[in-house]
């Protein structure tokens, strides 16, 4: 993935890719909103502010080099997630409780 130059002005390899995460407001998680190329993390942060929070969409931004992210394999239904599939007892609905037991 090379980035930003278009032939002139940026290094041949292009600027690195950063993934951008924004916390919409206090109390919420940072959420992935997109990505951008920048020469370094500081510039990535400034550019992310201009690109993804022009209308007060965030109170905090993370930028993460895309290369630093390790992801599970593409298929979202693959055996990687199987360990969670057969453990119904992790859910509260697994347990039958008589209707007349209060607050449970």
């Amino acid at each position: 993935m090379s980035g930003d130059g278009g032939g002139t002005g940026a290094p041949a390899r292009g600027w690195p890719l950063y993934e951008v995460f924004v916390r919409g407001k206090r109390g919420l998680n940072h959420v992935h909103v997109g990505s951008l190329h920048a020469p370094d993390a500081d510039m990535a942060l400034r550019n992310a502010r201009d690109l993804y929070t022009r209308r007060n969409e965030g109170v905090s931004i993370w930028v993460v080099p895309a290369e630093a992210i390790t992801a599970s394999s593409p298929d979202e239904k693959d055996p990687f997630f199987a360990p969670a599939g057969d453990k119904v007892y992790r859910h509260p609905t697994f347990y039958a409780i008589p209707d007349d037991v209060p607050h449970l």
Binding site: M1, G6, P74
Partner: protein, 361 residues
């Protein structure tokens, strides 16, 4: 189970070439695997689920998306020029601030979309090059000139209005990153259209000359705006496949009709006449009937012979070249900062080593 380094965007063009190379081998086992992948892709589309960047997808689906999203991104970027033309001459600070914010939004739209193409293995620098060299298209609408300030209002009303018509269904397009970019874009577009309409309302309550400017701008932009939806369905050979892949959700003619139906009452409220003698309500269809855009003109503009094609591309090329020193300076600064950080990181260790050698530890 886990692979190194594959964020949304992490599939390198090399990986994709490898993937394609693998698919190219035609022993039976591979064909079996390929059929399974195709089936899973088809099932995902049929269930109206989104395809995500690291999913397997047919080559033609990937190519179609890259072409369409790149063309869309180029349109946002080139689309800054007709209105940018008026930023320095806006009649008030209020109008100038609004126009600047709108044009800045369009730059943002271009960037969201270029980022979406990169999740498919495209490269923004490469796409920029293709645009500048005239090898990829952008919307024909931006090859018309903005002759008066009323054009700024009419662009917001009709051009952004038509763009919204096109874009709202794309919020449900089958490719995840494209759909997410469109959701973000659509949120911002409604300001674009409203500021344009408000500008026109203001001018219409002004002098006779201002009202005439609004009518003239409407006359010039109406037909090009209708052409933004693309050729008639009968002449749009790729529509069927794009609809089957759920990249497109409505045909060109359906969207054009929707736009006309939405716009006619707005024109009445504004007090302008849409320049189409055939335009009238059809109670049987429950839609407005309207005339046929000049498709010969549309083809001419697409072929590069519109009033401003050469000017738009030359300006884009110049802006890119003029920005070279900024990109160079940013790279040099980042390199210097990285070198300093590395030096600082070394210092304590280097000092400790010296002390140890001197027997002070």
């Amino acid at each position: 189970m886990t692979e190194q380094n594959p964020s949304d965007q992490g599939i390198s063009p090399q990986d994709q070439r490898d993937q394609r190379g693998q698919q190219g081998r035609h022993d039976q086992q591979d064909q079996h695997a390929l059929a399974a992948l195709e089936q899973r892709f088809a099932r995902t589309i049929a269930a109206d689920h989104r395809i995500e960047p690291r999913d397997w997808m047919p080559d033609a689906y990937r190519r179609t998306l890259i072409r369409q999203i790149a063309q869309h991104a180029h349109s946002e970027i080139i689309g800054m020029q007709p209105e940018g033309n008026w930023i320095s001459r806006a009649p008030s600070l209020r109008r100038k601030a609004i126009l600047l914010a709108k044009v800045q939004d369009e730059a943002g739209h271009g960037l969201y979309l270029y980022a979406a193409t990169e999740t498919l293995g495209a490269d923004r620098a490469d796409l920029t090059r293709k645009l500048i060299e005239g090898r990829q298209r952008y919307s024909s609408i931006f090859n018309y000139p903005t002759l008066t300030f009323a054009d700024v209002g009419v662009i917001g009303w009709l051009v952004d209005g038509a763009a919204i018509c096109n874009q709202v269904p794309l919020c449900r397009t089958s490719y995840g990153p494209y759909a997410r970019a469109m959701i973000r874009i659509c949120k911002e577009e409604s300001f674009h259209q409203r500021q344009g309409y408000e500008l026109l309302l203001t001018m219409m309550s002004g002098t006779e000359q201002q009202r005439r400017m609004v009518q003239e701008a409407t006359d010039r932009w109406w037909w090009p705006a209708l052409m933004m939806f693309g050729p008639p369905d009968a002449d749009s050979p790729n529509t069927a496949q794009s609809m089957a892949w759920r990249i497109k959700r409505d045909t060109n003619d359906e969207l054009r009709q929707k736009f006309v139906d939405m716009t006619v009452p707005q024109a009445e409220k504004l007090g302008v006449t849409l320049p189409d003698p055939e335009l009238r309500w059809n109670p049987e269809r429950g839609h407005y009937d309207f005339g046929t855009p000049d498709w010969a003109e549309f083809k001419q503009v697409l072929a590069g012979n519109g009033p401003c094609n050469a000017q738009r591309l030359a300006h884009r090329r110049r802006a890119h070249e003029d920005g070279a020193w900024v990109r160079e300076a940013a790279s040099a600064y980042a390199a210097k900062q990285a070198a300093r950080a590395a030096a600082r990181a070394q210092t304590p260790a280097a000092a400790r080593e010296q002390r140890e050698r001197a027997g002070v530890a």
